[in-house]
């Protein structure tokens, strides 16, 4: 493998690792505060126990998110110094705003975790709410910076020099709104469904357990509305891609020919050599209709793009299918939950509980797939149409060493975190232990 490829793998691995903890840091505080608020209102001990356990989980997962986020902020320079030299001034504003949002998260998480005895209940809940708001803003600012890589604006390039930098215009780039909403919904959906899935497993064993019933309910309230709205946000994001990154659209749809009445493909395996996508279920005119609101509209295919500007078509298409498939399933799950609840059988329907258990990890898989769609789909560009990834990479040789180092560290961390969460959040006996 070349150093460029090692650099891309290291960045990809770091992001794939961090994104899990980042979204947990956004959504877990919402649930932990909801549980505490329910405790204050109802006085039921299960809610307090729940808030305590979720805050313990948040403490561990947030810390890993914070350190892996620090790694990323350095890796931007360690791996892509030429990119940062150009992009730093342009997208520094959302990053500095993110710094403040992260500051508020860290400060108020410290107050929340260690302030059970020192803050009044309203002040304690307010601290937790601030963590949740800070998390949402952190995510939004970082995604705005990423969106700029897809739809770069707010500067002019004269030769190799960047002039007329307008950081505000860069932050409010064309893709920012759709990507931010899509990402925030993904965070709440993935975490809410995962937590609900874990508690559904306990409810299958004991449907009357009050503790797991309440945990399950809160997690569903966080996860399922977001799941229901996500297809709309996804359609919005796809619309932006259609207008601004037609090559990415062609790759994620496996569209090789430029044609009118382009079909929407469900599944399928693109063959970039033969320039055809096989085994897909095709809905005639579906892609033209979704992309342009007209089944007769012409969609530009990859054949009209020089081969060296193609993203890795197969990976992008498959990742997109996984994301869309899971997203649709989770939206369906939300409808199912609403019907089950309306019939008063939320905890009694074994098929629904089984479906939730089955879905535990799906939100996170969709999240990773969606991230692959947006990042791989932009290749070979680091900044769409402006700077290639290959031109951004550090001149430092031997990048397989840091790649191997961080791969080992992250695998080790993942194992430890998983075991710790199991032991301290899921298995400890509900008791008065603080």
């Amino acid at each position: 493998m070349t150093d460029l490829l090692y650099a891309r793998w290291q960045m990809g691995l770091s992001l794939a690792f961090h994104i899990v903890f980042a979204v947990i840091g956004m959504a877990m505080p919402v649930m932990m505060v909801a549980a505490e608020a329910a405790w204050v209102r109802s006085g039921r001990a299960e809610y307090l126990e729940l808030a305590r356990r979720w805050s313990r989980g948040t403490a561990i997962l947030f810390a890993v998110g914070a350190v892996s986020g620090t790694v990323l902020s350095f890796e931007l320079g360690l791996l892509w110094p030429a990119f940062m030299e150009v992009a730093g001034p342009i997208i520094g504003m959302p990053f500095s705003l993110e710094g403040f949002a992260f500051f508020l998260e860290a400060i108020f998480l410290g107050l929340y975790l260690y302030g059970w005895q020192k803050l009044s209940p309203p002040a304690h809940i307010a601290a937790g709410v601030t963590v949740a708001i800070g998390g949402a803003f952190s995510g939004a600012f970082v995604v705005a910076a990423n969106a700029w890589m897809n739809t770069p604006t707010g500067f002019r390039l004269v030769g190799n020099t960047v002039v007329d930098v307008d950081p505000v215009a860069a932050m409010f780039n064309a893709a920012a709104g759709a990507q931010i909403v899509h990402m925030l919904l993904a965070a709440y959906a993935a975490v809410g469904v995962a937590v609900a899935g874990i508690h559904a497993w306990f409810l299958l064993k004991d449907p009357l357990d009050q503790f797991h019933r309440r945990a399950f309910t809160i997690a569903l309230i966080v996860g399922l509305p977001a799941s229901l709205l996500q297809p709309l946000a996804g359609d919005w994001a796809a619309g932006v891609v259609t207008r601004t990154q037609p090559v990415k659209l062609a790759a994620l749809e496996g569209q090789f020919a430029t044609e009118s009445h382009a079909p929407l493909r469900l599944g399928g395996l693109p063959d970039p050599e033969a320039r055809v996508t096989r085994y897909a279920v095709e809905i005639p005119g579906g892609l033209s209709l979704l992309a342009y609101g007209d089944p007769a509209a012409t969609v530009v295919g990859l054949n009209d793009v020089p081969r060296h500007l193609w993203p890795p078509v197969t990976a992008v298409h498959l990742a997109f299918q996984v994301m869309v498939g899971i997203g649709s399933w989770l939206a369906l799950l939300a409808v199912w939950a609403a019907v089950t609840q309306w019939r008063g059988r939320l905890f009694a329907s074994r098929s629904f509980l089984r479906a939730m258990v089955f879905s535990t990890a799906l939100g996170f898989i969709a999240l990773e797939a969606g991230w692959m769609v947006t990042e791989l789909g932009r290749q070979p560009w680091a900044i769409q149409g402006v700077m290639k990834t290959a031109d951004a990479v550090t001149p430092m040789p031997g990048l397989r060493v840091p790649f191997a180092l961080f791969t080992l560290v992250y695998i080790g961390l993942a194992v430890v975190v998983a075991r710790l969460i199991r032991r301290t959040v899921l298995e400890t006996a509900p008791a008065g232990a603080r």
């Binding site: 620090t70 790694v71 110094p81 940062m84 730093g88 504003m93 500095s96 403040f100 108020f108 410290g110």
Partner: protein, 341 residues
Amino acid sequence: MIDAGVALSLVLLLSLTAYALLGGADYGGGVWDLLATGRAAERQRATIAHAIGPVWEANHVWLIVAIVVLFTGFPRAFAAVSTYLHVPLLLVLAGIVFRGSAFVFRAYGPDDPRHERFWGRVFAIASSATPVFLGVVVGAITEGRLPERPDGAFTQIFVAPWLTPFSLAVGAFALALFAYLAAVYLTLEAGDDDVRAAFRARALISSLVVGILAATVLLLAIADVRRALTTSAWALPLHVATAACAVATFALLWVERYHAARVTAAAQVVFVLWGWAAAQYPYAIRPHLTVAAASAPANVQVLLLQVLGVGALFLVPSLLYLFGIFGPRGQQGRRIAGRIR
């Protein structure tokens, strides 16, 4: 009207100062966790964990702020530092990852002494190693052996610029300084007299180590840097102030005036950093890159200053609230609970 680049470098210096005073002391806490001895060792460790617990993540954010200001306001400096100092920065990152995760793994793990001892050890070792590499990075930027372009053998371009006696001495100095600061702070966090006496002794000894290493750094500096560190207009007053603070801290520790000692020790660290910054100016990285040449367009720097100003309106009250609740004053009279949970 002050130049935006200069104003922004002052902001960068301020966030580095905050990081040294707060995050630095958290690293130092790890050093004393590693070196905890005697009957009171576990109580010393509990005191450290109790003091760091609520605040370390917030303290850590100052480093992120510094990095963001650097790459937004001085992109060329960020690119050069992260290219040529890749190796020590990677080690800093590994240290940060291990230190932060190990701390929460220990604090929120199961009630199992083996688990606590293992992650406590990881936390302590990572906390002790990271400041050395941070210091090496600062030393390399100061000494000025970074190449202008990446042409040459690997060791010459990516190792030689930082693997020097001077940079290593700065690394050792940073470690000693952070440990010293932590020991002084911890005298105020101690729940009983044994522990307080232990940290007092550690503070007194480490203040001497700091002095010796400061002299070593100065002796190992190349002529250019030594001249800047000693003869620039700012140098003398800052050196006098640093020395005065060092002596005052030693005396105050001796007579057990811990609140005052904390102030003078912090002031000492501030003067060390500012003295370094004054000697470094007008360079961002000696000797090729000045602050002006590293600067982003002026409108970007001005906007960044405004954003930071507005952000500070949220940040400062929040930080004051945090330290008001958990600072030593907030702990007074309370017994250390042993385990933090």
